[in-house]
């Protein structure tokens, strides 16, 4: 097995939980952005807009955290400076 293969396997091992996070972000995000339109009574326009922007910002944060976690682990040595 080549070093590249070993790296790939090691990083793909680390990425298994990331798939679960991706699905979680997708489902939770979908629920969050759909909620203003299914609740009764419906939210007024301005609060609904604020809710959607907030959920959007949260989604971006979650994606950034996931992207950080996806960074391939280095076998040794320090993290990126």
């Amino acid at each position: 097995m080549s070093l590249a293969q070993r790296d790939e396997e090691r990083s793909s091992g680390a990425r298994e939980p990331a798939r679960a996070w991706a699905v979680l972000i997708l489902v939770l995000g979908l629920l969050l952005v759909t909620w203003p339109f299914v609740r009764t009574p419906p939210l007024p326009l301005a609060p609904a807009y604020a809710h959607l922007l907030g959920a959007w910002l949260g989604g971006v944060g979650a994606l950034a955290a996931m992207a950080r976690a996806l960074r391939a682990r280095r076998p040794r040595g320090p993290p990126d400076a």
Binding site: D7, V33, L45, A46, A48, M66, A67
Partner: protein, 1070 residues
């Protein structure tokens, strides 16, 4: 024409600036210092998703349909969560198979079928021409508005005057930026950087107009929302649509962000590193969030201010212009212009490439009269770009005035959605077949045309409008916008029906007409592309089948039909090299098969996967006999191994991977052996450093910086693979004030003793001129750890990000650094040993001379006494004379004893057999006594000896040793500063006492100030001053044993001051 002169001037200046930026990026790329290969630039370039529809149409959409506009941006945000698995896979496929578009990927996956590529291309062209038309419409309308908006410039009339010049301008821009080369798989760094800049401009413009409107024009967000229109005038919450519409729009937009040709082009074809996808998956949604923050406030505020809802699509521009802010208006216009041009250029580039690869080239292959087109691939693309733009302009003239931005955009989004089942199914479902893909795309396309295009044609008078009410042949259940009596908004309706039809056809036909065994293997390679590895050189040792020269000729002939001959030759050589073949060699069966695959991949970069496959098959690169031999070779292997084809493939992959690993390991071992041989060639530190800095080039790095710590500041050496840049780097090193003290990676490596990988190499603290001369993609700094303190650092720099960041490269670099540190340490120790031998020889010479000195007078006196005794004159000798002879002899014996005592002291000190007899004593008294003992000697040397000391300084010290210290210091001052005053000063505080001995002698150079404290070293060996050179060594060791310190301050010509500090408490015994 005068009214359009200013807009033309502004647009020309702006485009000129973009050209300059793109040219600069291309130059940087050519020099190996890429700007485009940057995760931030990549993410910003993806902002090409935000077109004029976003810039102008979103506000119009929000004014009419409330929050529904957000789906266009929330959809991509949600789907970005799976980009790491989808986009990365597409990037890997692009890197391996040189695909250039979605039709190319589909063709590659589905039996390299030209039919699949043709169907997908047709769908994209038909679906996206209205979308490009939408951009043209907006650009024409806003140009007219910004030019004054007079009657002749009002939309749609403005199109007659502005349309054709705009079209010509966009065509030129597209050719220069995207269609300059025949190999579309090559990246366009200039285009990517220009798109990133345009993204920044449109974002800044939109935020500027939003902030101005909310806080400059209105009284803040609260004011905007509180005064929002109510009742009939208010925009509906979701434009009278339900949550189903919301979800359908999210889905269609999320898919479009990946499937639109321009998005695929930027995200996949222009991708420089898979890792950039990781950044884009959050930065791109963040960009979309920012550009939408002010959309609803602008729509609500404008409606509340009485702006006509009919003009909502240009509120963003009309608001600042109507309010008397022309500068802001121009800025907004440039933002919108950026959004439009970016989209048109990339979309047209992508569509033109598709038309050329999947329509023009196959047509040229099929019809002999069109063969000449093969030699003019580039011109075919230019013609295709002209065709696309002309179609878009025609569409805009025919339908533009009747439809809003949002409705047109969503129609196009729904069209490209039809590629999603075939693409995603092809990437993740092994059972997906070519027939299923064609069935799915064609069915979805047909339903899309029926549900979305037919109503447009009917409303435009091209078809009977009754069709929309009564249905075809009076069947109401088949009404285009209400199939089977399901009525919702047209886009949701189309999304639901097209997806149902598309997926059903795709899955059913794939199950009924599965792919063959050969294509199954290809499908597996595509699906497993993230874990599989590219085929490497074939295993050697197999029987020869064909001549490499002959195959090269055939490959050049085939490639030369599509690209210039020189390029064809280079491509053929590269293909042969990848097969492990050398000129003049014979190829094995497996190598011939590999060569065919490599040529196909190379050709796919120019004309697409399907056309390349067909061309390679036709060219006869592999003869029928050779094909049989290849089959036999594989069959033999299978028979011998008793394995299935899948198992065989796995084993071959394993063998190749193992072979590559072994070859690489062997190469690394050869490299390290060479390193050791070179380093062993010299024990001189300077020569070792000179050799060491060049060792990693080019095997491991593109540039090297060696920093060695030494007294008086670090010594820095630089080597670069390019001589010119090495010269630039050396000039930076020689610049006044140059320092690496603040270089973060070096400091960190020295502090932690571990390697530091920086990616990209933009570490803080590096001097800018030096940084400019070094490769900027990756830096690896390793500490050089010898015996004791680190000797320095070795910094390696790579042009490619993966050059130094792999585990293998890191291990090799660490081994190199370890061997280098050992070599440098050896050189240092050898230098010290040499110095020690020199000092010993010098000491023997001095000691012999010094010991011989007293022996001469002693022998003389003994001989005199012998003579007196022999002559019987001893008794007659006067008593005083005899005492003088004996006194002289005793003095010489005393001097000999003193020299021997010094040597014994040195021995005791160096072997740590040195004990202090500590007791309370008065330092002032000791100083005065020693000075008094030297008064006669001082007078003889013409020295004024002065003491300044408090009455009493009591501490716990060894009196005999302190006397020794004082005698040495005062004795040295008298020896080295004859005829000059010498001052001995005693100072004390509660914790310590200090003795300062100052003379006005010749002084000691800074370079010698450390050396004189070593054993057998003297300040001026040739100054005619006697002594063994152990005095200051004894002083230092005695003072250290007392827990104190000794230091010297001196400058040549300004005398010297020796300062001894002694703690007053009880010291540790040495």
């Amino acid at each position: 024409m005068r009214e359009v002169a200013l807009p033309a001037l502004v647009v020309t200046a702006y485009v000129g600036a973009l050209f300059a930026i793109a040219a600069w990026a291309e130059r940087r790329e050519a020099r190996g210092r890429s700007v485009a290969s940057n995760r931030l630039v990549y993410s910003l370039a993806l902002g090409v998703y935000a077109t004029t529809w976003t810039f102008y149409g979103s506000v119009g959409f929000a004014a009419r349909r409330g929050l529904l506009f957000l789906t266009v941006y929330l959809g991509p945000t949600l789907c970005a969560a799976v980009w790491w698995w989808v986009v990365r896979k597409l990037v890997r496929i692009k890197d391996r198979y040189q695909v250039t578009s979605i039709p190319d990927v589909l063709a590659l996956r589905y039996e390299r079928s030209q039919a699949v590529a043709l169907v997908a291309t047709g769908l994209l062209v038909v679906g996206l021409v209205p979308y490009i038309a939408l951009q043209l419409k907006t650009m024409i309308a806003t140009l007219g508005l910004v030019a004054g908006g007079g009657a002749s410039l009002a939309y749609p009339g403005a199109g007659k005057r502005l349309g054709l010049p705009l079209l010509a301008f966009l065509l030129g821009f597209t050719i220069v930026f995207g269609l300059r080369r025949a190999r579309p798989s090559e990246r366009h760094p200039g285009l990517v950087v220009a798109l990133a800049v345009e993204s920044v401009v449109k974002l800044a413009a939109f935020l500027a107009v939003g902030a101005w409107f909310v806080w400059g024009f209105r009284g803040g967000l609260a004011d905007v929302f509180s005064s929002a229109p109510g009742g009939e005038a208010a925009p509906a919450f979701l434009g009278d649509a339900g949550v189903g519409t919301w979800l359908a729009h999210l889905l269609v937009s999320g898919m479009a962000a990946l499937l639109l040709p321009r998005q695929f082009h930027v995200a996949v074809v222009e991708n420089a590193s898979e890792d950039h996808v990781r950044t884009a998956m959050w930065l791109f949604p963040a960009y979309l969030l920012l550009i939408n923050v002010f959309v609803l406030p602008l729509a609500l505020g404008a409606l509340a201010a009485g702006a006509p809802p009919g003009g909502a699509d240009v509120f963003v521009l009309s608001l600042p212009l109507d309010a008397g802010h022309p500068a802001l208006g121009w800025f907004v216009f440039l933002g919108g212009f950026s959004a439009g041009t970016g989209m048109v250029i990339v979309e047209t580039t992508a569509l033109a490439t598709m038309l050329s690869n999947h329509v023009a080239i196959p047509a040229a292959e099929a019809f002999p009269p069109l063969r000449w087109v093969r030699r003019h691939v580039l011109h075919a693309r230019w013609a295709a770009a002209l065709l696309v733009l002309a179609l878009a302009f025609g569409y805009e003239r025919a339908f533009g005035p009747r439809f809003g931005l949002a409705s047109t955009g969503l129609v196009s989004f729904t069209a490209v959605l039809q590629l999603a089942p075939a693409l995603l199914g092809g990437l993740f479902w092994r059972g997906a077949s070519k027939a299923g893909a064609i069935a799915g795309i064609v069915t979805g396309f047909a339903v899309w045309a029926y549900t979305l295009v037919v109503p447009v044609l009917a409303r435009s008078g091209w078809l009977p409008e009754a069709l929309l009410v009564q249905g075809p042949l009076g069947v109401e259940a088949l009404v285009p916008e209400g199939l089977f009596d399901i009525h919702t908004d047209p886009v949701t309706h189309a999304v639901v029906w097209t997806l149902i039809a598309n997926v059903l056809a795709f899955v059913t036909v794939s199950l009924v007409v599965p792919h063959g065994a050969e294509e199954g293997a290809r499908a597996e390679r595509i699906i497993d592309v993230l874990s599989a590895h590219p085929a490497g050189a074939a295993i050697e040792g197999a029987a020869a089948l064909a001549s490499a020269e002959r195959k090269r000729r055939l490959a050049v002939e085939l490639l030369g039909a599509y690209v210039p001959t020189a390029e064809a030759e280079a491509l053929a050589d590269a293909c042969l090299e990848r097969c492990g073949a050398r000129p003049g060699q014979q190829l094995s069966a497996l190598q011939v098969a590999e060569l065919q695959a490599q040529v196909e991949v190379a050709l796919a970069a120019a004309i697409g996967a399907a056309a390349a496959h067909a061309a390679v098959r036709r060219a006869g690169l592999v003869t029928p006999e050779e094909a049989r031999a290849i089959s036999t070779a594989y069959a033999d292997i299978l028979t011998a191994l008793h394995v299935s084809p899948e198992e065989l493939r796995r084993r071959i992959d394993y063998s190749r991977a193992r072979e590559r690993l072994l070859a690489r390991d062997a190469e690394n071992q050869r490299f390290l052996a060479g390193v050791s041989a070179l380093l062993a060639g010299s024990l001189d530190a300077e020569a070792t450093a000179r050799t060491a800095v060049r060792l990693p080039l080019p095997h491991l790095a593109d540039a090297v910086l060696l920093v060695l710590r030494q007294e008086g500041g670090p010594r820095v050496r630089l080597a670069h693979a390019e001589p010119r840049r090495e010269e630039e780097g050396r000039a930076a090193l020689a610049a006044p004030g140059f320092t690496l003290d603040r270089a973060a990676s070096i400091t960190r490596a020295l502090e932690t003793g571990r390697p530091v990988v920086s990616r990209p190499a933009a570490q803080a603290g590096w001097p800018a001129p030096l940084r400019a001369a070094l490769p900027g993609q990756v830096e690896l700094t390793l500490p050089l750890v010898g015996v004791g303190e680190p000797l320095g650092t070795l910094s390696l720099f790579g042009e490619r990000e993966d050059r130094l960041s792999t585990a293998e490269a890191l291990a090799l670099a660490e081994e190199l650094a370890r061997r280098l540190a050992i070599a440098l340490d050896n050189a240092r120790l050898y230098g010290e040993a040499e110095r020690a031998v020199r000092a010993r020889d010098e000491f023997l010479a001095i000691a012999s001379h010094e010991l011989k000195g007293p022996l001469g007078p002693l022998q003389l006196r003994i001989a005199m006494l012998e003579r007196l005794i022999a002559r019987g004159e001893l008794r007659a000798m006067p008593h005083e004379k005899l005492m003088q002879i004996f006194g002289g002899a005793r003095g010489q014996v005393h001097r000999l004893a003193s020299l021997v005592d010094d040597l014994l002291d040195v021995t005791r000190l160096s072997t740590k057999r040195f004990h202090l007899d500590v007791a309370p004593m008065d330092l002032s008294a000791a100083v005065r006594e020693v000075v008094e003992q030297h008064l006669a000697e001082a007078a003889a040397a013409g020295v004024t000896l002065r003491v300044e000391a408090p009455t009493s300084v009591v501490g716990a010290w060894d009196r005999r040793r302190i006397d020794q210290v004082l005698e040495n210091l005062v004795g040295n001052a008298l020896k080295y500063a004859p005829g000059a005053p010498v001052e001995v000063r005693v100072e004390a505080d509660a914790a310590s006492a200090r003795i300062r001995v100052h003379d006005e002698g010749p002084g000691i150079p800074a370079a010698d100030q450390e050396r004189i404290f070593r054993a057998f070293e003297r300040a001026c060996p040739s100054a005619g001053v006697g002594g063994l050179g152990v005095g200051l060594y004894v002083v230092r060791e005695i003072v250290r044993a007392h827990g104190g310190t000794v230091a010297v301050e001196s400058e040549p010509g300004r005398g010297s001051t020796f300062t001894v500090s002694l703690p007053r408490g009880k010291p540790a015994t040495a």
